[in-house]
Amino acid sequence: MEHYSMNLTLKVWRQKNKDSKGAFETYPVKNISSEMSFLEMIDVLNEELIREGKDPIAFDHDCREGICGMCSMYINGRPHGPWQQNTTCQLHMRAYKDGDTIVIEPWRANAFPVLKDLVVDRSSFDRIIQAGGYISVNTGSAVDANAVPVEKDNADAAFAAAACIGCGACVAACKNSSALLFVSAKVSHLALLPQGGPERKSRAMNMVAQMDKEGFGSCTNTGACEAVCPKGISIENIARLNREYMMAGAGSDK
């Protein structure tokens, strides 16, 4: 495709800190190359703001190559912008044309409070992982990597679920602010592998309990999460989690 440059109007959510109210600010940006990434475009704007002595726009990012899950922008009514299976950092300006207006908002959910501008606190996800998204391994010499056989189909499904980068776009997209795509990806990843066996039941129960405590909603299978997930996590994982949860819960003594 041919390179081109464009002038855009950005409407960005600005909020000083957790407790302040926040509002949209409008910024014109000029001479943006179609080859830039979306975050580079924000970098250009921020440098200009700094030159003018203004506060640059705060946003989360780290790897800028679609693997860490830090970037989080709700762009023109869609988490991670218009492209399918894509993170904000991998969105490029060739998705836009001269004269476009782009509205940028932070993830919105009570469980993801805004810290500043576009940065939200996603530590609720960390606490869900701490509640059960792990396996316990005895210390000592490492077990031979191929000692435990895994069926190929299960290995593939576990691998696909493990692709979740914990970005939170599923929550941002969900009308119920449900985190079930994330939680079900983590539960499925371990439930499908023999290593996840010993803690399988407590994991499903504890992760769901923590998710509820953090203030995420209940899933109603609308599918919005799957549509925006940068890693293509399937909502079949949610059905698996529903099953894991009830098998563990109905089979427990307490």
Partner: protein, 229 residues
């Protein structure tokens, strides 16, 4: 898991919705089957006999209590779910996501359910309350092969002689169809069916079920209003 978590945890609540929803799906097949007897073209004899049977055994009286429990559980849990889910995002988006990623009817289950609830109240007032409790001047007695019974067919024909009633019923069936197009397949996902080969089948069967059941119910008042039966 404590029993109460069936009604308090996010996943438990969904199981209650799914099990009561599936129960209602089965009930609708029975209900539509019996009502379809009006099309036997025998002046309502077959339908009256079927309706009489549904009120004549103690087993069906017990099932009726189960049905009411199921409906009320589904409705109460449905509103709880909707209200709690709505409270999870205090500050909304300036640009809503709309149809980017989900279908309107999957996001409107409580609205469609509310239309159904309002319809149920009218529907109970039309048929269940007169038949069980207070009677109706158009609910005459009839004698079929020596058995005395209500002439429900007559009450149906009277009720569906009013155009607005027919229109309300048809509108309710439209809501039912969309509630079920999402609800049927969603219920199976909720009870843990995760294999894609079943999910594809269930989705298609669900669409078929929703359209056929809703169309059958909608055609009953229409047939009577237009004098087809």
């Amino acid at each position: 898991m404590k029993w109460s978590e069936m009604f308090t945890s996010s996943v438990g609540k969904k199981w209650v919705m799914a099990l009561t929803g599936l129960f209602l799906i089965i009930f609708l097949i029975v209900h539509a089957g019996i009502n379809a007897c009006i099309w036997a073209n025998d002046g309502g004899t077959m339908f009256n006999k079927a309706a009489h049977f549904m009120g004549s055994t103690v087993l069906i009286r017990i099932a009726e209590i189960g049905l009411f429990l199921g409906i009320f559980l589904h409705i109460i849990q449905g509103y709880m779910l909707e209200l709690q889910n709505r409270s999870k995002r205090k500050q909304g988006y300036a640009v809503p996501m709309g149809n980017k990623g989900s279908k309107w009817y999957s996001r409107s289950m409580a609205l469609l359910g509310t239309i159904l609830l309002m319809f149920f109240i009218l529907h109970w007032w039309h048929f269940w309350v007169p038949a069980r409790f207070i009677g109706h001047e158009e609910l005459t007695e009839i004698n079929i092969n020596g058995v005395h019974m209500h002439n429900m067919y007559n009450l149906m024909q009277f009720t569906f002689s009013e155009l607005w009633v027919v229109l309300v019923y048809v509108f309710a069936c439209f809501s039912l169809c969309w509630h079920l197009v999402h609800g049927f397949q969603s219920a199976f996902r909720t009870v843990g069916v995760s294999n894609s080969k079943y999910l594809t089948l269930i989705k298609n069967v669900g669409i078929g079920y929703s359209v056929i059941i809703s169309l059958a119910f909608a055609m009953m008042p229409v047939s009577m209003y237009l004098g087809w039966v």
